[in-house]
Symmetry: C2
Subunit: 167 residues, 2 copies
DNA sequence: TGTTACTTGTTATAACATAACATATGCACC
DNA sequence: GGTGCATATGTTATGTTATAACAAGTAACA
């Protein structure tokens, strides 16, 4: 909603940006992708994705569960895990191993390798492209005869705002 | 112990190698490092490290705990977690986020950035250098004003033996 | 309309991890 | 050698994350 927002694509989470736009575009992309794959975007799944999208951060499965329960869905862990697993499996969300948590994917369907920058100050999680890293990783692995299928790349550190606040 | 083993340094786990040599060198390196830092390599800690070193794989904290208990140490989770946390904190072991597990570091004290190749067939975990990747990661993060302190880089896939077995 | 595949919900339990506190040990210093 | 402090070990108890197994409901389609 700010004049400084660029017209297309989601901004990295640490940069001031039009968050409403992120959400809309990610949600629309997700709907398209699901339809294209012949999957079903059911109410729990859609709501789980919306919940993740509401913030640029990761949420634990039990936090998502609580929100879902408040909205009238089931109260038991599998309700959240199943919705989240669906989102992750189809590239609509990512799992952040480091935090035992989940974050919405900001550009679903674009078949990308993601890496994450996790700020230990404000707990914001930024999704960035890992494509440049994957080349080196695949190459190094191949030299040992290992074929990489999926990679987890997560960096812990401080965003500029938190670094300044700490100084 | 085999004639094909090179004279120095541990071999990547997927390559046939002198495992006894890995263990000896990692253990010796750990002892040196601990002494140099003025820390205490107590019996539980040493034993925990030995247990991890016995295999080129990752072990869950509860597996390590069971082994420790069999050796006369305490039976409660903190016994294992404390020893493992000590090892990780001082660079003698690594945590494998993906598996909620721990693996001994094969070259302690060398101040390195590690990445891991995890075979989903045989569950072997190979530690490789992430130094080349860290350059690109730090650079990409810096462009967003983010400073990386620690990075988790874990690749899931198949080692050559398991890939051949599957084919 | 019946069949099939899938989705949701439940109960119960498994697996992973830490808080808080008591006891014991190592070690520097007098 | 004793005293005092920091560190280490062990315990109980609990918190957090994740899955297995099964029953009931719903969509798609011949």
């Amino acid at each position: 909603m700010t004049a400084s927002s660029p017209p297309t694509g989601p901004e990295p989470a640490f940069v001031p940006h039009d968050h409403h736009h992120c959400v809309e575009s990610a949600l629309a992309g997700a709907e398209d992708l699901v339809r294209a794959k012949g999957l079903r975007m059911t109410p729990v799944r859609r709501r789980a994705l919306e919940i993740l999208l509401e913030r640029h951060g990761a949420m634990g499965a039990y936090d998502v569960l609580q929100r879902l329960a408040e909205d009238g869905f089931g109260h038991q862990p599998p309700v959240a895990y199943r919705a989240l697993d669906f989102l992750v499996e189809h590239g609509l969300a990512h799992r952040i191993q480091r935090l035992n948590a989940f974050a919405a994917c900001l550009h679903p369907g674009e078949d990308h390798h993601a890496a994450f920058l996790i700020c230990r100050g404000c707990h914001t999680v930024a999704e960035v492209s890992a494509d440049p890293l994957r080349g080196a990783l695949d190459e190094g692995a191949a030299a040992l005869g290992f074929s990489v299928e999926r990679a987890t790349i997560e960096a812990m550190g401080l965003c500029s705002a938190c670094r300044e606040a700490a100084a």
